[in-house]
Symmetry: C2
């Protein structure tokens, strides 16, 4: 066996040529998504006016295990993939742990995160369908950035509805998107009926993700040749993101490393689902066993404190309903929350795997998350996104447990992106001004009371 | 011959183990640096109170051709090196050029630029000498970021004097440095005698690089166990940066590619000097021939319009004098200049190679630079630093010439870093509010009149 290098790079010819759909290997499938009007499983015909046709097909297909990655997408992937699987030698030394820590780094592209893996796929299918463009929403801006980049590559129009407060507070994210040629509109805007309505009802509102989704969907369905695209939660997104896990597994296999523990941060579930899917597939097929840990913010604890039920994916209630671990579509994390992963629900695939006991979950407080981020940055030379730092926190905690027990566990975690655009949060932490907030049971009960009655 | 992949990665065991000192192969050496008080070649004893001893030795050594890279530095390099040499397939396609374009990408580390290659070396030698810490100045913040990261790795105190206007306008850069544990002081400050003096003379001044250098040097020489470090211009910095060129050459050789043209942006010369040194070495030894092009801003044209003469390296006139192409140490680029590379002079090594005709130089206007940056970003998926985009501009121009002539030239350029912290400039460009400024002959004459009388 070769000595394990700092960074394990696959060769281009070792890159995956197919995405893996973990639903194909699940005996008990995730519950189907429902038409918000009929509350019946949604059909391809009903989905197609909103989503690109190929993507709608992928969304509904829970039996096909592998999907070919089209050559155009594979060529784009080659610009920034394979991404490195890094052996965190310096972090291990700093912690004094016998554990071996590995992280799959997805921040090595301009969008700065793993979101690009799905953005390029969605843009490709939109182009292939002959569309003029796509619409989407963005909060912090990672998804909007990735999509802008993907659309510029395929010469597609890209219209991003950005939550107004982010639009104003994160002008740099906005400018990255504009540099890639996207139109960025602060939401709620006066471009859409729903935007006008919300502006009239709540003058001076700074917007919300739910509202931006509704505007983007309206913009897609009222313009000829446009569809709506989304960066997380959906099963199609997890499918595209499986490239992360497939590469991770190939890199580990190349060096004969057996992961004991796989850790990922979880907001809507796109990164976690992508990272773990081939490993979860082995577990589902009875071929191997892993400890898989989803890490979420204590301030937005959908897996650890939510309810497994059908819920709306957006506050505007225009998108299909999904069965998922949810805090209720009206849930909004405390204003002091700075660590991302703010979505009220969790991908239905992740939710079902969690419900089946294949995945465990932990919630962590944000000061602990930024503390871990700083430890990591100082020795590993990457300034991590706050989202990614949730996984770092638990990886460090587990490595410190190994220090006590002397176990040489192989700990693998997903480092989804960089924190270059999150320096306001880092500043708060550096100045000792960051605090934690955990929602009370009463608050959660209140938002869970808004769940729709289905069945 | 294998097909050339999108990204050529060397294996860790193919990484350079020695830095290359191009001065060793120069028959006519760069002129020696002078003691600012005596105007005589400065001695090791005179340099040692300011610089770490090993670094002072490297600075003065113009005969040794190769220096061992200490193992600790090689291990640190492995965290982010070898950096990829990327075949710009997508840019070639976009331009429709028969040329083959390659770029060496140095932005794949948190500091976001090549500066880290020398920062880690300088921090290492400071630590080895048993120092408590180092002081430096930073303008835009790339160097300060890299040094903060390097110091945190070796647990050294890092004191950064940041030009006040940048400190206030670039709070995110400041926070990255603080996250790495550095102390960042807006300059002019009240910490130093010179800072106090400048604040008294020019109340409300927003500072300058020259003033920040003077403060950093004073801070180094008045605190026990501190030395001053610098991120460009010096020959020691070019020595460390040779790792860029050595890797580039190894990657090209691995695939049997002969570069026709090597292009780099040039401010103080650290990136350009590092990139070209092994190629210039071949030329000096008569083994090969290349067209080497230094690209500088039209608003700060030291090579194309400056004078080859001894000048002060800093406006405070406390550092040694160097013979270099210079615009005069009092030269300050127009306030509308946003593209970096603002230094008034050019590394004495680059200056001498230019004077000997091994290097040619071009100046480009900033709107053309940002135009090239945008073209590049949209197809290659990396948002480039404005500095790096000077090289992109000329690479694109040359590739378009090949389109006319049908030549399949191999064009190699240095992509020194990412532009995540330069979105204010991109915003200006996106809004069509960016303009160009070329200094008049009279303006240049005025600043060149301040050159010291030496000889």
């Amino acid at each position: 066996m070769n000595e394990i290098p700092y960074k394990i790079y696959l060769e281009e010819n070792e890159m995956p040529t197919q995405w893996y759909n973990v639903r194909g290997d699940m005996k008990k499938k995730p519950a189907p998504i429902l038409n918000p009007e009929t509350l019946q499983p949604i059909t391809l015909e009903e989905l197609s006016p909103i989503f690109c046709e190929e993507l709608a097909k992928q969304e509904l297909d829970d039996t096909t295990t592998y999907f070919e990655i089209p050559e155009e997408i594979r060529n784009f992937y080659k610009m920034y993939r394979p991404s490195p699987l890094v052996r965190a030698y310096c972090l291990e030394k700093k912690l004094g742990t016998p554990a071996h820590i590995y992280y799959k780094f997805e921040g090595n592209n301009t969008s700065g995160s793993h979101k690009l893996n799905s953005a390029i796929a969605q843009a490709y299918y939109a182009k292939k369908q002959g569309l003029k463009g796509v619409t989407t929403e963005t909060g912090a801006g990672q998804w909007g950035t990735a999509l802008s980049m993907a659309c510029s590559y395929f010469d597609l129009d890209c219209q991003v509805y950005m939550v107004k407060v982010s639009y104003e507070q994160k002008p740099f994210r906005r400018e990255v998107m504009r540099t890639y040629g996207a139109t960025v509109t602060p939401s709620p805007s006066m471009n859409t009926e729903i935007g006008k309505k919300i502006n009239a009802e709540f003058p001076g509102t700074t917007g919300s993700l739910g509202c931006a989704i509704s505007e983007a969907v309206e913009a897609a369905t009222t313009q000829e040749g446009y569809r709506y695209v989304l960066g997380s939660v959906l099963s199609q997104v997890l499918l595209h993101q499986s490239v992360i896990g497939l590469e991770t597994k190939a890199a580990l296999d190349k060096y004969g490393i057996k992961a004991d523990m796989i850790i990922g941060c979880a907001g809507g579930g796109s990164n976690l689902g992508g990272l773990i899917s081939p490993f979860a597939g082995q577990m589902l097929r009875g071929e191997a066993d892993y400890e898989i840990i989803a890490v979420e913010p204590a301030s937005c604890p959908s897996l650890t404190r939510g309810k497994y039920a059908y819920d709306f994916c957006d506050t505007g209630k225009v998108c299909p309903l999904a069965k998922m671990y949810t805090l209720g579509s009206g849930f909004i994390p405390s204003a002091n929350h700075a660590g991302g992963l703010r979505y009220h629900g969790m991908s239905s695939v992740i939710s079902e795997l969690y419900d089946q006991g294949l995945i465990s979950a932990r919630s962590v407080e944000q000061t602990k998350v930024f503390e871990a981020a700083e430890i990591f940055a100082r020795v590993e030379g990457i300034l991590p996104a706050p989202e990614s730092s949730h996984a770092i926190r638990v990886a460090i905690d587990e490595a410190l447990k190994c220090k006590e027990t002397g176990e040489e566990k192989n700990i693998v975690f997903g480092l989804t992106g960089t924190g270059y655009f999150d320096m306001v949060a880092y500043e708060k932490f550096n100045n000792g001004e960051m605090s934690d907030y955990i929602p009370t049971d009463e608050e959660l009960k209140k938002s869970l009371d808004t769940l729709p009655k289905v069945d």
